[in-house]
Amino acid sequence: MSKTTKTGKAETAPCPDAPGAHPGGGGGPGTGGRLRAACTAICMVALVILAWGCNSEVSSRPISLAGSTSVQPFAEKLAEIYMHEHPTCRIDVQGGGSSAGIYAAEHGAADLGASSRELVSKEKNLTEIPIAYDGIAIIVHPANPLTDISVEEIRQIFIGAVTNWQAFGLPAHAIDLITREEGSGTREAFEHLVMAKHEITPTAMVQDSNGSVREIVAGDPYSIGYISAGLVDDRVKALAINGVLPTAENIKNHTYKLRRRFLLVSLTPPTGRCKDFTDFILSPKGQKILENEGLVGVQ
């Protein structure tokens, strides 16, 4: 479905002829007996195209989902449960980053693209399916007396303009800044929501997962970092932004500002098996799975 590319559209014509069973076998012989070679060629083309396209009728072909590394673990979880319920269906989940996922969906390399950022105007022709909300929590060590911070203050810290806790009325000590690596979806969202085109200072320490950022903040009383709100636990303290804490409720009703949507995108509205899978994600059961994993549902 989402996958039918330019060439795909032109040549999927044989596809309806070959619905149930393995496609090429049905389509080929029907085309006629005159030029065996040509027939075989068409047959092969049809087979290849069907093999690439997400065609609901072809049960053996896996659905491919690629994109945001922030969405990936949740997508894997959903796919695992969906595949358990539909043993004949396979879903391949890959990372690559939001932009790569959108690009893949647009060009037919994946049936569904996963994005943790909003689509920009030139991508608006794609179908977007919001599946969940995720907050980005600003975390500090539990011993840090700070409880509230503004977006502007966070930006000043991450630009490198404010480097000492003294600026917040705390005892003087350098701020240990922790960020994520270039390419990370969480960093992308953080830069988009907080940094307003400014670059994160090169003196910031870099960790390559939400888990290790949390680990370091939990061990260093002078540190500050950001992680997905669903992953905050009692070893670190999430700061309120202008008095609003990153709770599920505040994220859902838009009062918590550092919030992003997780989207699935596809070239055309999903049909067949892909639709079945997205419906499953949006069903109460799918949403419950996401909420158990720490996200906030969209329904």
Binding site: G95, S99, A100, E182, P202, T203, A204, M205, V206, G219
Partner: protein
């Protein structure tokens, strides 16, 4: 005779296949990374320190400097320790002690680097943070961990070099009235020097190439450090940290980082070979 020839051919083929894979890896790294160096220019790539690959800045100077500093630190800590350990084991310790200590030291080499890194994170990093200041994840932490990691390499190759010095040298020196220490310092060490230098250079290669443990304890910040308590990012960490998400130019830039690393390690190994051959 036929059989002989056949086995010869098979062995040659096997030898060539391992060399071929090496050549292919080299070719691939250059193939993937070279376009980026052409794109940004060699000077911009290795002589600027602004690394923001998703925004089009590809300067790896900070990482080159950090890699060299971390390696230097590891040498400063690891070489005196390793060398004295090797001297004690080869020259001063009785046979039974040697039989216990040498295998134990070689066991150190078998510990996976992630374990060293983990120890660094839970033990060394808080120690540095609480007693010396800074965030703990630092150049110093990386240097200490690497200093320990290169010990087995330095020790075992140095021992081999010392043991290769013929006993006549030692006997001659002692017969002339020198003490044991004078013998070691004036006769054995100079005779074994090329082997010891090889040991140090191979240890250096291990330190500069180590990745996992360094990512865990070095903090990976993109700055040129001004103190040993500041976090740094090495060339290897840069590749491992970012390759997962990199695409397009960013990915090429990481391969280009690999080229720089490759050349540094080549220079080290080549100098090791030349030094051993000269003597």
């Amino acid at each position: 005779m036929q059989r002989e020839k056949f086995i010869e051919r098979v062995l040659l083929l096997l030898a060539l296949s391992s060399i071929t894979s090496l050549v292919l890896i080299t070719f691939f790294i250059f193939w993937e990374g070279f376009p980026l160096i052409l794109h940004t220019g060699l000077k911009n790539f290795i002589a600027t320190a602004h690394w923001a690959p998703t925004k089009g800045h590809f300067g790896i100077l900070a990482m080159i400097i950090s890699s060299l500093l971390v390696t230097l630190g590891a040498m400063v800590l690891g070489v005196p320790l390793g060398l004295s350990c090797a001297i004690v084991l080869a020259e001063f310790s009785p046979q039974p002690l040697k039989l216990v200590l040498k295998p134990t030291l070689e066991l150190l080499a078998g510990i996976p680097s992630v374990v060293y890194g983990f120890l660094g994170v839970v033990w060394l990093v808080p120690l540095i943070r609480n007693h010396l200041g800074g965030p703990g994840l630092s150049l110093l932490a990386a240097a200490v961990i690497l200093g320990i990691m290169i010990l087995p390499t330095v020790i075992s190759i140095s021992i081999d070099a010392l043991s290769a010095v013929p006993d006549i040298y030692r006997e001659g020196s002692i017969a002339l009235g020198a003490t044991l220490w004078q013998t070691v310092r004036r006769v054995v060490l100079p005779a074994a020097s090329s082997g010891i230098i090889t040991a140090i250079i191979l240890g250096m290669g291990r330190a500069i190439g180590e990745t996992m443990a360094v990512i865990m304890v070095a903090g990976n910040a993109l700055q040129i450090p001004t103190s040993i308590l500041e976090p740094v990012r090495t060339l290897t960490s840069n590749i491992a940290l970012e390759l997962g998400y990199a695409a397009g130019r960013h990915r090429e830039a990481l391969f280009a980082t690999g080229i720089v690393l490759f050349i540094i390690i080549m220079i080290l190994n080549l100098s090791a070979t030349l030094i051993t051959r000269r003597r």
